[in-house]
């Protein structure tokens, strides 16, 4: 317990994501990608080169990538639905709910995502019997749930942090106006806190999107699985470089704008105070 007690203090995070703006970056990434393709093309005079490989496999890989995006949206939805009430419990007045929700949050925040994914994939049955109803649990649903557990714990921390960042006089004023605790949170604290939750929530979504590739390890077909299948079906190891770069580029094109938008939002909040 002495080890775990060190976790009780929530880690303070100063605003470290200060601007690192460079609008030319996407251009640079695209150039690097084109250069690598050209480089591989140069060595492929006889057999079809990397451009053909990307034209042939690109749509399939893109389809797999879309499955990653779908998984991330579903996991984020489930994770937020689970995490928001957990975050409210973290600042509950009672000691017992606070203690339990704290332990749950710390556990899922500090366990590796991949281990949690394994846990859910292996230990949940393939169907659930609730009363007389049988609910099938396909692998992708289990994967969504497995990824949403760490998301929920992180959402809970975001909610707690934002709620606690609202100055104490707001609570006192609400109490003075005879608002109940839940009324205070719903009508006074949350509307102010939600703006502060948005940037870290978006940051978490980008991290989740990148983590969805983990589902390929537990045997679900995603962008990474399809890329590897494409490489092995051609039996052309030199195609690895452009095809993997293509997949990396897909994720970059999706996640980089989210990172930029997060920064922009943060800066706007900073200006308004």
């Amino acid at each position: 317990m002495t080890h775990l007690s060190v976790l009780c203090k929530p880690r303070r995070l100063p605003a470290i994501r200060a601007p690192l703006a460079w609008p030319g970056l996407p251009v640079g990434v695209a150039l690097a990608f084109v250069a690598s393709v050209a480089w591989a093309q140069a060595g492929a005079a006889v057999r079809p080169g990397p451009i053909e490989a990307i034209l042939r496999w690109g749509p399939l890989i893109f389809g797999g990538f879309l499955f990653n995006v779908l998984t991330s949206v579903l996991s984020m939805t489930v994770g937020t639905a689970l995490g928001a009430p957990l975050g409210l419990l973290l600042i509950a007045p009672g000691r017992l709910p606070r203690g339990i929700s704290w332990a749950v949050t710390q556990f899922f925040r500090n366990a590796p995502w991949l281990v949690l994914l394994f846990y859910v994939m292996f230990l949940l049955p393939f169907e659930l019997h609730v009363g007389g109803v049988t609910i099938p649990l396909p692998d992708w649903a289990k994967a969504v749930l497995g990824l949403s557990l760490p998301v929920a714990a992180n959402v809970a921390e975001i909610v707690r942090g934002a709620l606690q960042s609202i100055p104490e006089p707001q609570w006192s004023a609400a109490a003075g106006l005879a608002f109940g605790r839940l009324q205070t949170i719903r009508l006074i604290i949350l509307p102010q806190a939600i703006r502060r939750m948005l940037p870290p929530w978006m940051n978490l979504y980008a991290i989740l999107t990148m983590a969805t590739t983990l589902i390929s390890i537990v045997g679900i077909q995603d962008g990474l699985t399809i890329t590897r299948a494409a490489i092995s079906s051609d039996a052309r190891p030199e195609m690895m470089l452009p095809l993997y770069l293509f997949l990396l580029l897909l994720f970059f094109v999706y996640c980089y704008p989210i990172a930029r938008a997060t920064l922009a939002l943060e800066r706007r909040l900073l200006v308004r105070g």
Binding site: R17, L114, I231, C255
Partner: protein, 243 residues
């Protein structure tokens, strides 16, 4: 294996059918400990390299060379906005196959895991160190200059010590993430904790028990790391000064 701990787990197995073979079977215990050692070794080497990369990047970002600054920004954004698993697979398979002209691969799975995770965590460390140095109040720098400190001296005696104290919590967070990320090395067959556990559970068929051992081990590793970092943070604290 003897001892009261093995006895307790043997009783759990006999009475409740919970087979914690890592505590009762010497062979499984040995495999698990090798996995634990690999995970700790991997984490420590990545910590060292990623901190070096972070310092180097932060130093280049404050330097005069435009090209170096652009290169560091490209590195940071490229590694922060792409999936760590694809980065690892990319290094291990794509770059690894380019480098292995002979039959023997130049760098093994462990080596590529160190390179890949160090680069990933290093990209975050660049940002952390840079923002730490930038968060030092400019009045401090002016005061140092007023006392006749040179640029290097200002950096050495004022910016670095204060910046380190400011960015320690963020660094702790990143190092915790690094320890959790080492599980990805499973995907390229590095015999770390997750890999060792999966070998045990596929032979002994005790998935549930191994999962609990695995989760408890990682939570303990993270707790120890956080404990050390917080002790360091407390030891560095300057009485009466809040950054």
């Amino acid at each position: 294996m003897g001892g009261p701990i093995a006895g307790l787990f043997r009783w759990l197995n006999d009475v409740h059918g919970l087979n914690f073979s890592v505590f009762t079977d010497a062979y499984d215990a040995h495999r698990f400990l090798i996995g634990l050692r690999t995970t700790i070794g991997l984490s420590l080497s990545c910590m060292v390299f990623s901190i070096i990369l972070g310092l180097l990047g932060a130093w280049l970002l404050s330097g005069p060379s435009r090209l170096a600054r652009a290169a560091v920004r490209f590195y940071v954004q490229a590694f922060r906005n792409t999936p760590p698993l694809v980065q690892l697979v990319f290094f291990y398979f794509a770059i690894g196959s380019l480098l292995s002209g002979a039959r023997e691969p130049l760098i093994g799975g462990y080596g590529w895991a160190v390179i890949s995770f160090s680069l990933l965590a290093g990209a975050f460390n660049v940002e952390i160190f840079r923002s730490g140095v930038e968060a030092v109040p400019p009045t401090m720098v002016e005061a140092a200059q007023g006392l006749g400190f040179s640029r290097l001296q200002t950096y050495r005696y004022v910016l670095a010590p204060l910046g380190l104290r400011i960015c320690l919590p963020a660094l702790t967070n990143n190092l915790v993430n690094l320890v959790k990320t080492t599980t990805l090395a499973y995907a390229i067959g590095v015999p770390e904790l997750l890999y060792a556990a999966s070998q045990i559970w596929s032979e002994v068929l005790n998935v549930r028990e191994m999962m609990y051992v695995l989760l408890a081990t990682y939570i303990a590793l993270v707790a120890i790391l956080v404990w050390i970092m917080e002790r360091w943070e407390r030891a560095l604290r300057i009485p009466g000064y809040t950054p």
